[in-house]
Amino acid sequence: MSRPKLAVHKFSSCDGCQLALLNLGETLLQLPGLVDIVHFAEAGPMDEDEPVAVALVEGSINTEHDLERIQRIRRNSDYLVSLGACATSGGLQALRNMADANAWEAAIYARPEVLDSLPTATAVSDHVKVDLALWGCPVNSRQLLGALRDLLFGVAPREERRPLCMECKRSGAVCTLVTGEATCMGPVTLAGCGAICPRKGRACYACYGPAEQVNAESLGRRFEGFGLLPEDVARRFHFIHSGAPAFQAAGKHFRGGK
């Protein structure tokens, strides 16, 4: 029986999301029995232009070469998944979209003209159709395998839409915002990570991106009540997912006219 072909592509990113596959341990051995991995540079196979059923795309689009390559990948893929924060919203790199990238390059590099660098770091969905977005910095194996399993069943993968607070409360964690005025982003962030940070007593920093409903105004005002300046509130939204529209708007709102 022929197995569906899978490719894992990487753009500008730390490779951490690919570890959702590589860190699987014994489960990783099941994968080749289910899919034919034709391109996965970090794991070995290298055939970037092989047409595939599913392409997992990690990283944001930052160069002219990226622009060309993402189009090629889209043409070669039946189903394209943006894997993680960078591919889904531009990730941390998108912070530079709010600065003058050309001025930075001129200040940092002796010969900036040799760089192939676009002025922005953007999400894959800004360039091609994305069939499924997996949020997270990094994504975890449960998310990724859940999506792959659903695709193998031939059904649309179920997307998590609940806010992190619901997952956090199910875990039995005590709310860090209520007990300690932690500037926790849980109420406006997608669930899916397992509430890792709040369970360790730390504030969520929204690495899973905006929840389905984002009341940034209300949460931001609460943070101001804890003593944060508007600029600090803006930075809570403009961090891992500054490129996500809801967080982009929230940060701009608190930054005011600046």
Partner: protein, 389 residues
């Protein structure tokens, strides 16, 4: 827990659970240094003991072994969106109102596998996943939580549609309640009629006084445990002190819900402009529903193995604030925060009257304290009952 009162009780406060018709036993006195004897007998018959502990800045219920682990002298300072613990000199172990959870996770599990399906050459095989909860005794439960348990029973044990997972957990649970002597600023159980004393649904109820504890039985099983301790009857002065403590705990409450049935008033105010005012603050994060001891909504999620050979069907706590909760035929019928908050509040305080014969609120105040932005149910209700300007 005897079978009689594990049955649904629709009108808590009006109709008492069957099995409690006997005259309440005479309270007995337990000196503080004998508390361990009570805990040891609760742990008899292989039961695990759950009790209040301080963890991560809150009173939480977890496994305990010894009376020394109980939160001696701990006080909770609660206000909208805020919860703090403070150590006092008091020798009391229950001088606090509540924490984020009490009974609910012990009867309605946050996540639970309901059934499993396995595929082999002969086809698909569906198996119920009979969780086998450990026999458990819990100490420190309050009147608001007992009343909420009655509401949960009304929901999960509706005749002909009994939820086996809930039933199994409840059957294994021995409940030691504590009359509330130190309500928090967010408490309003006196106005809902669910506290501060522990009402029906406990096996043993305990009143904490400066000099020790008064114990009374709420079930034959509780009576048996009390009898085994061979304690002297409480003195008239002790009973008097308990009554005063109860009065004091009622009088100390500053928040309240109207004592009347709010059903018609709230349903008549579906278009009140105040819903939009709440929605400006509400985060739709669902914390209120998670900490609410009576909220029972759930979602179902298949969790297939990677090879597709088996799959578990998991039930998890959901919330009327989630997208999926109102996603009908591919369209969310409540697609903004205003409609979701309205759904929560009108269901809790109005719809429940039709479904379960009373309001769904037992006055624990958790939705007020644990709301990240401090939305106060009692204030919102008061605003909604005002005619719009």
């Amino acid at each position: 827990m005897d079978q009689a009162w594990s049955r649904p009780v629709h009108l808590y406060g009006v109709e008492r659970p069957r099995g409690s018709k006997t005259v309440p036993s005479t309270p007995v006195f337990l000196p503080p240094d004998s508390l361990q004897r009570l805990l040891d007998s609760l742990r008899g018959s292989g039961r695990q003991l759950m009790g209040p502990l301080v963890r991560d800045g809150a009173i939480v219920f977890d496994r305990i072994e010894n009376a020394a682990e109980l939160p001696r002298g701990m006080r909770d300072i609660q206000s909208p969106g805020s919860y703090r613990l403070e150590q006092s000199d008091s020798p009391r172990l229950f001088a606090w109102a509540n924490g984020p959870q009490a009974l609910k996770p012990m009867t309605f599990a946050p996540e639970e596998v309901l059934w499993q399906v396995v595929r082999d050459d002969s086809g698909l095989h569906f198996e119920p996943q009979a969780s086998t909860p450990a026999p458990t005794a819990v100490i420190g439960v309050r009147g608001c939580d007992l009343a909420a348990l009655q509401l949960q029973k009304a929901h999960f044990l509706q005749e002909g549609a009994e939820d086996p997972a809930f039933q199994r957990r409840l059957d294994k649970l021995l409940i030691v309640a504590v009359d509330c002597s130190h309500p928090a600023d967010t408490c309003f159980c006196a106005s809902t009629g669910d506290g501060p004393d522990a009402g029906p649904g406990h096996d043993i109820a305990l009143t904490e006084l400066d000099e020790g504890f008064l114990l009374r039985a709420g079930s034959p099983q509780g009576q048996e445990i009390i009898d085994s301790l061979a304690l002297p009857p409480a003195s008239t002065a002790q009973l008097q002190a308990a009554a005063e403590s109860s009065r004091g705990a009622s009088d100390a409450q500053t928040r309240k819900l109207p004592a009347t049935d709010l059903r018609d008033a709230l349903f008549a105010r579906q278009d009140h402009p105040h819903w939009a005012a709440v929605a400006e603050r509400c985060l739709a994060c669902g914390n209120c529903t998670a900490v609410c001891p009576s909220c029972f909504c759930s979602a179902y999620e298949p969790r297939p193995s990677l090879d597709g050979a088996e799959s578990e069907q998991v039930r998890l706590w959901d919330s009327c604030f989630s997208f999926e909760h109102s996603n009908l035929h591919g369209h969310p019928v409540r697609d903004d925060i205003r409609l979701r908050y309205r759904q929560w509040l009108t269901h809790k305080l109005a719809g429940w009257h039709d479904q379960y014969g009373r309001s769904g609120c037992t006055g624990c105040g958790r939705c007020i304290s644990w709301c990240p932005v401090g939305i106060d149910l009692t204030e919102e209700v008061a605003s909604l009952l005002e005619e719009p300007a």
